[in-house]
């Protein structure tokens, strides 16, 4: 199936193949072991990663950075 961008079709096929495998083998079986492995490592190293807003580190940014 073609992409809306002619130049993208081959890349799209590669993505589709990878996705179909992940979807059928992992996702549908509730196998989130990939993400869980990383989450586990982050917890073990006590990296303070939770509740951080996307694209912002929370602090107010002044108009001119000093």
């Amino acid at each position: 199936m073609n992409s809306v961008g002619e130049a993208c079709t081959d890349m799209k096929h590669q993505y589709d193949q990878c996705f179909s495998r992940w979807f059928a083998e992992k996702f549908l079986n509730g196998d989130s072991s990939g993400t869980r492995c990383i989450q586990k490592a982050i917890k073990e190293k006590e990296i303070p990663i939770e509740e951080l807003e996307f694209m912002s580190h929370g602090k107010e940014k002044p108009e001119n950075s000093s």
Binding site: M1, N2, S3, V4, G5, C8, K12, Y15, D16, F19, S20, F23, A24, F27, L28, N29, G30, S32, T35
Partner: protein
């Protein structure tokens, strides 16, 4: 004007086969009208649901009377968005599909819910709803029509005012000229 459709059907395949096949749906012999397919967004939510947005372009097939009435729409393909949520834990999938162009002519929205068939757990049932709406053939004028009418009225008022001013101006000029001519004769 909105027309509503409701239907139900059964696929004699298991839910996981159906959900996997959904992503390999195109191309197929019954989808010659689907020209392109792209996943433009995808994410897995914290509660393990898969959200996807799929962009499709489809040929715009209209009956000949519609082609004559709406010639501007003939050349343009239809862009369709399909948003979906796959919930493997509850074994359901919900999709919402609609056209994002040709919207002034007609909007078709379709919502499907796929789940395990209540009689046969090896089968999948689809509950399908559709809404077809058009702002062209309705009883109540669309917002655009009312706004256009308002604008036209305002414009007519302005034109009339400008014409009145111009007429007054010409009249006063003519009067001044007449005065000058009369003075000349005195």
């Amino acid at each position: 004007m909105v027309k509503y459709f409701l239907g139900q059907s059964v696929l004699r395949s298991s839910w996981d086969q159906v959900f996997a096949a959904f992503w390999q749906r195109y191309p197929n012999p019954y989808s010659k009208h689907v020209l392109t397919e792209d996943i433009v967004h995808r994410e897995v939510t914290p509660d393990q649901k898969l959200l996807s947005r799929r962009l499709l372009t489809k040929t715009n097939r209209m009956p000949r009377w519609a082609e004559r009435l709406f010639p501007a729409n003939v050349a343009h393909s239809v862009y369709v968005l399909e948003d979906s949520i796959v919930d493997p834990q509850n074994q359901t999938m919900t999709t919402f599909t609609w056209n994002i162009n040709h919207a002034r002519l007609m909007v078709v929205e379709e919502r499907c819910v796929y789940c395990v068939n209540s009689d046969n757990s090896g089968w999948t049932e689809i509950r399908r709803e559709a809404w077809v709406s058009s702002s062209l053939f309705g009883e109540a004028p669309s917002k655009t029509l009312v706004e256009t009418a308002k604008e036209a009225k305002e414009k007519a008022k302005e034109t009339a005012l400008a014409a009145t001013e111009k007429a007054k101006d010409l009249a006063s000029k003519a009067a001044t000229k007449q005065q000058q001519q009369q003075q000349q004769f005195v």
